[in-house]
Symmetry: C2
Subunit: 231 residues, 2 copies
DNA sequence: ATTTGCAAAAATATCGATAAAAAACTTGCA
DNA sequence: TGCAAGTTTTTTATCGATATTTTTGCAAAT
């Protein structure tokens, strides 16, 4: 039976719901970098009490989406070019590692999921609408499929955080357009992974992440220039 | 002026204090793996209300020291050989990376701190008392000094979590003895770092971490054997 | 014009009480 | 005895209220 609309996802508690909603709003730029997060205001906005909100914010602080200073409350984590570069470099290191482990340990199920999720991603990339939200989902599924064979829980955990941090930059920078030439990179990624070619797969993933980061960075730089011109 | 005893450290709020105390108690085995963490019980034990406790537990869940299941409360994160191995492998990857960056970017201050912290560690290792708590602190300072030149915030963050997770295993497994031959590994580490020899420094750190993990794992295995014999 | 001091306002952190859920414990019945 | 349904107890999650701290606003003084 379908659950109530307030708990359609895996969120059993108000705290979880608040966590997921805040997280999503930060990633999608609804809550702007550095913005103050006043409990009283969020209370009315999200329709939950102070306790679950503070719990959610504490968790978000632990994975770097908000900053917390004692007696001064919370704010959305700032964004900067250095931070993007930092995230990018570490994401490359971890995703390479996870990919290598996957190539070593992945079985039939792993291969199937790569083929399937690549196909779904391809469909979105070539479709007329090119819905960015849909693309984000499929892109995430594809990357998850690639590293699904990785057995390290900690690697998965850290990678997940970095993926979402990266996603925040992508979303804010390129909220509308999907670069067309990402597709062939995904294809190379699929082929090298299925061929169990660690070296080339790692090169492909590094190149792919660097490329998207570069695009993001360029848009980010242009935006910050515009802001300075206004000021 | 000296602060009140309840806020001698950097903890400005009750939530922070509870977080640090719980964290420390988990790392030092005061709170056992898998142990249920009942709010009402902790309330009396730690002398704070439910709200700061829940915030602290939420944060601890985010960095993997406790597990949280909706409507079922919190418990101390379990320990296992697989988890130790997982932590060990990833810690090696990250500490190598951080060390390389340090060797590249570290300046005079970085070198000085390595020499200084190594000296302090050496003193404890060769002293008659061989106080494990003192050794833990000095060991931490030395490893921190080695990677102090690393400019990546995210790498530092993740490394910090893994270091403390590793420390939990160390503490529970070897709460009393300090293996004597760790000293020469530290020396090799200091020398190769100061010589700016990335390759050898990385080998040294890998070997060092693997060695301590092996010792820990052996003790862990013996303990779990004893438990099974009793049962 | 800038700073200083203080009072008012706002926001944070925390507590105590309560509703909701899960676990433990009966009790009735085959 | 075994076990299913209902009932009590325990525990979790959440709200509303309050004490404490920070920020703001404003007037007097340098």
């Amino acid at each position: 039976m379908a659950k109530t609309s307030t708990e359609q996802n895996g969120a059993k508690t108000l705290s979880d719901q608040a966590y997921l909603k805040l997280r999503s709003d930060i990633i999608h730029g609804v809550l702007q970098p550095d913005e103050k997060l006043r409990i009283e205001h969020l209370r009315t906005e999200y329709g939950v009490g102070a306790s679950p909100l503070r719990e959610a914010l504490s968790r978000l602080a632990a994975d770097g989406f908000v900053t917390a200073e004692g007696q001064r409350g919370f704010r959305v984590a700032p964004m900067s070019e250095e931070d993007l570069e930092d995230i990018t470099r570490l994401r490359i290191l971890l995703e390479k590692q996870a990919l290598c482990q996957s190539i070593e340990h992945g079985g039939d199920e792993w291969e199937s999921q790569i083929v399937a999720s690549f196909y779904q991603l391809e469909k979105v990339e070539e479709s007329a609408e090119r819905d960015p939200a849909e693309w984000e989902m499929r892109n995430h599924d594809f990357h998850e499929a690639l590293i699904a064979g990785c057995t390290s829980k900690w690697l998965r955990r850290f990678y997940g955080i970095l993926y979402d941090q990266h996603k925040r930059y992508r979303n804010i920078a390129l909220s509308t357009e999907i670069p067309r030439d990402l597709h062939q990179e995904h294809e190379e990624l699929r082929n090298t992974a299925l061929a169990r070619d660690k070296k080339r797969a790692c090169d492909a993933i590094e190149h792919h992440i660097l490329r998207t980061a570069e695009i993001t960075q360029r848009v980010l730089r242009e935006e910050s220039l515009q802001k300075k011109e206004i000021a």
